[in-house]
Each structure stands twice: as C-alpha cells, then as structure tokens.
Amino acid sequence: MPNAIGLERTDYKGATSTLCPGCGHDSISNQIISATYDLNLNMTQVIKFSGIGCSSKTPAYFLRGSHGFNAVHGRMPSVATGATLANHDLTAIGVSGDGDTGSIGLGQYKHLIRRNVPMVYIIENNGVYGLTKGQFSATAEEGAKLKYYGVNDLPAIDLCLEAIVGGCTFVARSFSGDAKQVQTLIKAAIAHRGTAVLDIISPCVTFNNAPDATKSYDYGKEHEIPLHSIEFMPKGYVPAKEEITVESGYAGAIDVTMHDGSSIRLKAIDNDHDPRSREKAIMLLEKAQRENLFLTGLIYYEEPHPTLGETLELTPTALTKLDDSLLRPSASVLADVMKAFA
C-alpha cells in the first residue's frame, strides 16, 4: 500500500543484506524501513552515515533513495557533523556498532553529543567484533564468555550512560528482537531535534548468541524489561480524549511533545521511571548495571538544546545552497580589506 507520498514500503529498502542470516542488524534495518515509510519521509532528503564494521554495512541495505556514506572506523560522527553543518535541511541517520562507538569512536561519539549534532545515532550493540571473528567489544559485560577469547575481565561501557553524561537530550535502549519498540523509538528519534541516541542490543548470531550470553536472542527475549509501553503519535494525530489526562506521572502515561509537533506517549508498565529526569535516568542505568537488568525504552528525554548550526548562528539557508554572491565578496570588499594592511 503506498504511503502519503505514493511510495511502497519496498521502495524504502536498499540492497540485499550480506550479513549473516538472522543477524539482529537486519531486523533493525527493517524497522528503519518501516518507520520511514510510515512517516512518509522523502528519502532524497535523508542522509545515512556509518563507520566500519558489520553494523556499518547496513546503510546500504535501507533507503535506496538516500545518499549514504560509509566512513572510517569510529569516525562517522565527524563526517555527519560536517555534512549536517553543510546542509541542515537533511535528516541524518547514522548506524554504528559497539566497537565503532564504544572503542575506537568513543571520543567522536561524546563530542557529537556535546555539540548536539542533529541526527539519529543508532548503535547496533552485540558486544563483539564480528568481521574480525569474535573479539570482545567494550560493551561486553564483565564475565562474558567467548569461544576463542575466553572470559572478559573488564567492565562494560554503558553507551546510554555516556550519552546522558555527555548532554544528550534523547537516549533510548532497545532490543532488536522487540520490533515494535525499535520502530517506535526510531520514529521518535527522527522527530527529535538534536542528537538522538538509540542503543539497540542486536545479537550476533555467529559469535555471541549462546543462550547465556546477555546479548543473545534467547537472553533478550527472556530478560528484556520494557520501561513503558510506547506509542508514537505523528504530528496532527488526535488521540482519544480520555488518554490525554495525564497525571504527574508514574502510574499513568507521560506525553512528550516533540519539536516537529509529533509526540510520544509512554505508559508505565511496572516501574515508575520518568525519562524527563536526568538524575533518575542515570540512577536507573546504574541500577540496571548493578543488578544486570535488561531495561529498554526511552531512558532520558529533555527539551532540545540548540543544535550545532544554531549555536554557530549560521545563515538559515543551507550552506550548500548559498548563492555564489554570498560565497565570494565583491572586489570592493577586497580593496577595503587591503587598506587595513597597507
């Protein structure tokens, strides 16, 4: 069925995936396809980014109508920073992995967030390096076991916690086995203005999918604790009247209105997490780490800060669309400048 701009869901696909059959990353690509189809996105106004690794191959497998850039390992954030500064009219979606973001790219990840580069930043997190045949990544939990590399002795880096500490205004964790939640969070992330981080646990079926591995399918299916049931309401959507009455909180629903007029509605399941509190979000992640809880959902949200381009007070026209007359001052301007040096 064509969407509002006349495109079929299949139009949003990319090339055929070359990842292992059953890879969690492919299901995330599918949710990106579904989300953008549902949102009626004009693909030509989307730019895709990735670093290096299994996850980073995936931008070739969705949104064939969007320009994509498979950059160098861990440095996708800087490329996305430059591209979004150059043309702020475009919607940027980046896909990275846990090695790409948590190890080689941790610095760029933190600085992307610090600058509030407007983009969706998806981490397809499987705790393992796949293309080099199964080394631990920095998000592998302490005590994790791998076939060749034995036991991981080091604590995991929590990329959601890093994002919150770094000043990110939209931080979510999900599980690639939870298709509906992934898709909803992607929609919300696209609607967000600023850096939106989605850390999606995405099992590596080849190297890290033993039933007791915390980033495996079986483990995820069994242990995932969604914080809320989550619903995305696009701009103009009018929800049923009784649902609007939201009490201060915790037992009821929380509506978050996004910059573009869309909103997300979070209904608590069996906890009282309010993602609008930074302190609570940090405590929640601490608790999850301490008690080994696989909590998913929107962990932290706040009103968007100025994006990098806004901080720099740039002209409203995308820099790539500036007329040559704005790119080159006149000869008389040069003559004036020269006087200052005479």
């Binding site: 994509g68 950059a71 160098v72 500064l85 009219d89 740039l314 002209t315 704005l326 040096f341």
Partner: protein, 613 residues
Amino acid sequence: MCALNIQPELKPAYQGESVVNDFALMIATKNGSGSQTSNEVLIRSLFRMGIPVSAKNLFPSNIKGLPTWYTIRASKDSYIARRDTTEIGVVMNQDTAAEDIQNLPPGGVCIIPSDWKWGQSREDITYYEIPVKATVAQSDIPSEFRDRISNMVYVGVCAQMFDIPLPIVEKALLDTFNGKAKPAAMNFGVIQNAYNWAQENLVKADPFHFEAMNLTEGKILITGNEAAALGSLFGGVSVVAWYPITPSTSLVDGILDHKQIRKDATGKDTVAVVQAEDELAAVGMIIGAGWAGARSLTSTSGPGISLMSEFVGLAYYAEIPCVIWDITRMGPSTGLPTRTSQGDLLSLHFLSHGDTRHVVLLPGSVAECFEFGWRSLDIADQFQTPVFVMSDLDLGMNIWMSDQFAYPDQPLNHGKALRDKDALDAFIADKGEWFRYRDYDQDAIPYRTLPGVDHMRAAYFTRGTGHTDMGTYSERGDDWVKGLQRITDKINNARELLPQPIADIDPAKKIGILSFGSNHDAIEEARDTLTANGIHTNYMRVRALPLAQSVHDFIHSHQTVYVIENNFDGQLAQIIRMETSKDTTHMHSMALGDTLPMTATWIVSEITKRENN
C-alpha cells in the same frame, strides 16, 4: 629629569659614511613580555617610510619566559629574505645577552638597558645604554602595565638613533592597537620620553640610518596565514573545522577575524567554524561537508597531518573535495613546533596507506597564500579530491611585504556537481543514465550528485571499500584496477592544469635552480649575488604536485641543476627522481633543514663552493 640623569660611556660621534636602509635589527626579548607590539610598531613605521622591510620572529615553544629574537630587515634593494647578520642588537633579555652581543658584527650597535650595569665588553661595537626602568617610571603608567610597556623604550631610542619620525611611529602604534586611542597614547608617552632621553643623552656613533623612500606604495604587510584565511573567504569556504596547532592556528584565527565579510543580509554567518576535538575529527568534518557539497577546509601542521592520514585516503578513493592547509614545522615527531621547515612534502604527496598521490599546492609568497586560498577550493571541486596547500611557519606566521592581492580572475568553479533535480534530469536525458564514478567525459573526472537533490536516481553510496563505477560494492580485481587507474589518470591530468611553475630561463645559462615555497626571496637575492660573482643561473619555482612536464624539461635542459629545499632529505629532488627514467646525476639536492628560514648567504656559499669544485 634627575632620575634619568645617567650618563653612559659614549663613543665620539660617527664621522664616516652612512649606511642607509640596508641593515637589520635584532631584538632579543623574553617570550610573553609584550615585545611583539613594539616590534610591529617598528616594522610598520619603516614600511610607512616607504622602506622595503621584512621581519622574522624566532620564538620558543613556550608561553612566557624563554628567549625570543625578532629580526627586522630594511632593504633599499627590496630583498626580504632572512639575513644572517644583524648589525643592530636590541638586547633586552639577560639570559641570552652575552651571546647576543657576541653575535654582533664588528661595527655593530648594541642597545642595552643601563639598569643591568653590564658595562661594555666589546671594543668594536657601539653601545647605547638606556635607562629602561627610569624612562617607564617617568611616564605615568599604572603598575600592571609597566613591564609590558617597557618594550616601548627601545622603540623610542631606535626612532631617535636611526631616524624614524615620531609622527609615523605614533600612527603605526595606533594601527597596531587597532585604532584604540587610550592604550596607544599611553605607549606613545613612553616612546616619546625614550626618544627625548636619547636625543639629549646619546651621541650618534654608528653609521646606520633610515631614510624615507617610496618603495612600499600600494603594498601591504601581512602574514601568510592571514592571507590564506582571506583567500579562503574569497574562495567561498563555508565549513572550516580545525584543531589548534602551532604554527597553523593563526590561519583559522584569520578566518574568524575576517568572516564578517561573508555575512548574509541579516548579519548571519555563511561560514561555519568548528574547533574539533582533534585533527581526525577536523578532517572528518570537512570531508563530510565536502561530500554534502560545501566548500570546506582545515588547517594544521605535521602532527595533525599524520593523524589525518586514514581519512585522507578515504577522501582520495571516494573522491571527495576538501582543502587541507599544512603550515609546516620541524619534524619528525613533535619536533620543533616554532621552527620552520619544508619537511612534509613527501608525506603530503603520498599521505595514507595504499596507492595514493595527492595534489599539493606550494605557495611561495603571501600573495600566493591568498591566491591558493581561493584556488585550492576550486581545484578540490574540479578534481573531486583532497587538495593540500603546503605553506610553512616562515610564510605563515611572519609578516611579509607584498603587492596588494588580486581579486580572483575567474568565477567559482564547483566542478562536475549535479546540484539539483534539473541538472540530474538534463544529465540523464543526455546520457541515458548517471553513475557516480563513470568517466563520461574521458577526462577521468566523474559527475557527482549532492545529497538532498530531490530525485530518486540521485542517491549513491559513498564508501572507502572497493567499488564499481556505478558506486556498488565490489571485490573484483578488474573493478579495483579500473577504478584506481581512473583516479590515477585524474591526478596525472592535473599536472598541466594546476598552478604551473614560474621560471626565469635564458637558454644560454647552464645552471638551473629549482625550488618551491618560501625559499623564493632568498633565491632571488642569491641569484643577484651569484650573477655579480660571475655565476649565472636560471630559476624555476614549482607551485604544485604532481609535477608539470616543464619541471622535467627544466631539469634536462641544464648542465647542472640545484634543487634547493628547506628540509633534511631533499624531498622535491626525491620526487623528481621517482618520476624520471632519465639520468639525473647532474641534479644536486641542496637541502638545508636547519630550522630557520633560508638565507641568500647560504645559497650563495653552497653554489659557489660546488661550482668551484
């Protein structure tokens, strides 16, 4: 006046022939003491007198306290290269004073604070001992400014002793303070007191005088980095990302200082400047921006270049325009951050793993820093490749006299970019297709669409992995060879399209000098001296890599060729040897690499020595 009534021992007034506008001053101070302002006032004053001047700042990698030497050369013959000898020493740093005095030539002048009570150790030079503290004390200066302002004392003394009119000094001072009258007046008060003191208390015992000329009319004084910044702004740069590093920092400072010339109608910026977290991020940002269709640049020095290596390979292979300025300093490693060198030539030309060969522009003057500032952005777009511009600390940070810069003589060249739907439709109507890396014009340069072109066939996937001319992933050997061959052809085609060498050739002369960059002025001066000594030379200055054919022709049309470079390994000579199968035994590498700007004296002595062998 009693506080100033210190009568130094003086030589009798000088009776011999004057030396006019052909000598150099060396001002030795401590870094961070505020002497830069005084030195700038002096050089500006001489410039305003119409005397050709040049300045070299030899400063330490330090914020405060280590020695720094600033040399100012006046040359009635318009020679502006560094000079080995400085006749006048303004010795203001006790830590280096003994050596500074020792280095003065016989007949030289030493200006030294009488406060030190050092006495006069040399018989063959003239001493002017000046009461620095008392002069400052006499001027009503708030205590917090006294140390810094004490440097104005030597300005006043020099003005008096070497004939720089005070009104000119006053105007230069005002300009140095960007028109701020109050600090200018306070400083000028000290200059005036020092001037008056010298007039009343010193007897001129040296031959050195400045005299007004008219050789700086229509000229400017500027650093290469500021020139590069201006050139880039006139070249339409719209995304700048950088990480601070000596000696390149003042390039981006220049962009920040002057970007107001690029405001839009509502006063908003059309240039984004981002201070990155490191050089990897800086180059990543400009590659992202170049890919999206902006004109982008970064500025760095050797260590930053090393860090950028991987990304530059991506931009080369994925064919993404961007401009990288390398203001070179001494390497390897951290090296000497505040000393000049041309040691990055080879690493720039071949930066990154695998088979890469980059376009490198080689400005030889501040005017070329301006010109290559805008031209580099055109060349990057034209060839869809990273373009390096290799300047150096000497060119970049020192103040140079130059003709006023010429306005770009051609419109912005955006290269083969399909910037909107109509452009892509027209292309497809003509060719029946569009693929990112296909060579439609047989010039090895493909067409690119910009992200955001509202056309379902506009998208392509940019990757550093193997790809076909359709932009699709490929691990096939023939695809790889075909792709890399086209890129190689593209870079080879650039040889004759980049800024061509500038040559001064008389077929009757048998000796050729080949060089590049900031050595130019020393070479021109050296050639005059060599000619006077009966050694006649031709000269070619290379302005870009890969080399034009005319460079090889030059090499092989001379009996002897000297390749002069300010690096240790003779890197340009190596590139020439790499590219030719002809005999090059007549080509001699003259590589200096001694951390200082090239001098005519060294070139003359080296060539004379070799010619006489």
